[in-house]
Symmetry: C2
Subunit: 313 residues, 2 copies
């Protein structure tokens, strides 16, 4: 059934999950973006308003991922007769390493698809979401958009063809997430990574990702923790994140299962055994950053199993 | 309870499993080695006889892995009072890439432990088995000895400390294994591998191993098959194996789930949906090798879930 109006929430995501660079990610219950789509008479897509972005995001419909995705979607399904205006309410920080552009893109696509009575199955929205990432970040990776769209923990097994595998999210697992207010542009963080790596380090890495996947299937927190090590990417990216090693020390001392960088940073995350544990980790890390004169946002979340959801009008 | 005599079977193993270089392996129901241990009065370990090796293996107890492992085990548990003589009956080809030395080492250790009433739990035999691999191959890897000792499919998540994870073996999964009679020394096969690899290839590889592990947990043959690709090691090792690409083509055309090199070769293996399918793949590949004037051994086996077992006297 088609609608006149829809308001949706799309989740922030944590990509990489320490040992799964470019292939693993999971969705959070919070933070995330809110996208409103309203029908208008005139065919075409316009961006009515953006709030919460501090004026950082493009206002032009063709250049903002939330609207560019909707345009591509409408063209694909042959519904260029449809007229909509979009409101994007950023309820999460930009440039944080928490999949901000993915949340906006996925929110827009989920909303337009639902507004038109879901002409496409949810997985079919993924290629449009990847185009949105290309627009926002310069590379069309799926490690944020896949969990943002599908929820849970996702593995991008491969890109040619795109093969997204849903992994189980152990019920007790909670995430502690902290965004320290320092700038780490995604492009710079990617460029610092070496193009060649030692085979022995790659072997260590794939032993760990295999262990992590096994730990998720068996709900084995200890195995998940033993597997959450990154010998290849983190040593380089951590240089750009002040207090990274102290944050890790504090998280692990507070009982974290594992700790690492979210996406390309500067946000960090930890897996915790329960909500209380996750809250303690978040507040310990934030208190330390405050002492160092660094502002931060802190979150405590389960793994979001549903992905985007419709909000009441 | 201690015994005077024991006869055991220890299985051949397929290491790497295509996308899990140095970390994955599984045990076969056949072929394998047979080890007999018999008490004698005089303390110490002697190698009474070796059959089936064509005179290739060292006859000196300190230099053969089957006996060297038993010596190390007896020293470790403080039973240098024990006197045994060992018979090793090779029931599998040597230098085949099927874990021949691992089968002998594991057979000896399983047998001596059982002879003495199992003073050590089975997993505690693993370090001794790795010493055996060091003696036989010049490197103490666990990717053959872990599945030979523990059965099933094993992941070596890491070595420091040693972390072996048992992965589920889907019930229907059968292996087709062919050993073409060509020489590919393990040391040479290892030396051909580049020490540095492209990060993007490593990412492809760890997407695949994560997919393979997920496929094993979900009994998803299609996902297992999509994940059985190796962009890093196989392209180099395949050069040493005549007819490799044609064997793959034949296996896949015969309905294989996936195909690749066993260990460092020259043996190849395929996963198949059932015993009949595995038998067809083995005979198709062997027929092709025969046409090319290359002799071979062929096997059809389930995944061996138990590892070594005691045989009746």
């Amino acid at each position: 059934m088609e609608k006149e109006y829809i308001r949706v929430f799309a989740p922030a995501t944590v990509a990489n999950m320490v040992c799964g660079f470019d292939v693993l990610g999971f969705a959070l219950d919070e933070p995330g973006d809110e996208v409103v789509i309203r029908r208008v008479k005139k065919p075409g897509v316009s961006l009515a308003s953006i709030t919460g972005d501090g004026g950082k995001l493009p206002r032009e419909a063709a250049r903002n991922t939330v609207s560019a995705g909707v345009v591509a979607f409408l063209e694909h399904i042959g519904r260029t007769d449809v007229g909509v205006e979009i409101e994007l309410h950023k309820r999460m920080p930009i440039g944080s390493g928490l999949g901000s552009s993915a949340a906006s893109t996925v929110g827009g696509l989920f909303a337009i698809n639902a507004l038109l009575g879901n002409p496409l199955p949810r997985r079919a929205l993924l290629p449009f979401a990847m185009q949105g990432e290309e627009l926002a970040c310069g590379h069309g990776h799926a490690d944020n958009v896949a969990p943002a769209l599908l929820g849970g923990i996702t593995l991008i097994r491969g890109y040619d063809p795109l093969d997204v595998v849903a992994l189980p999210a152990p019920p007790g697992l909670h995430a502690s997430v902290v965004f320290p207010h320092v700038d780490v542009p995604t492009r710079d963080a990617r460029q610092m990574i070496r193009a060649k790596v030692a085979l022995k380090d790659a072997v260590t890495q794939w032993g760990n990702i295999a262990g992590l996947v096994a730990g998720l299937f068996t709900d084995d927190h200890a195995l998940i923790g033993r597997s959450m090590h990154d010998v290849l990417i983190e040593p380089t990216r951590a240089i750009l994140i002040p207090e990274f090693h102290e944050m890790r020390r504090l998280a692990m001392a507070a009982g974290a299962i594992g700790f690492g960088i979210s996406g390309s940073g500067p946000s960090v995350f930890a897996f915790a055994h329960d909500a209380e544990n996750a809250a303690a980790i978040t507040s310990t890390i934030q208190a330390h950053l405050t002492e160092q004169g660094i502002g931060s946002n802190g979150y405590v979340s389960r793994i979001n199993r549903k992905g985007p959801r419709e909000l009441s009008a």
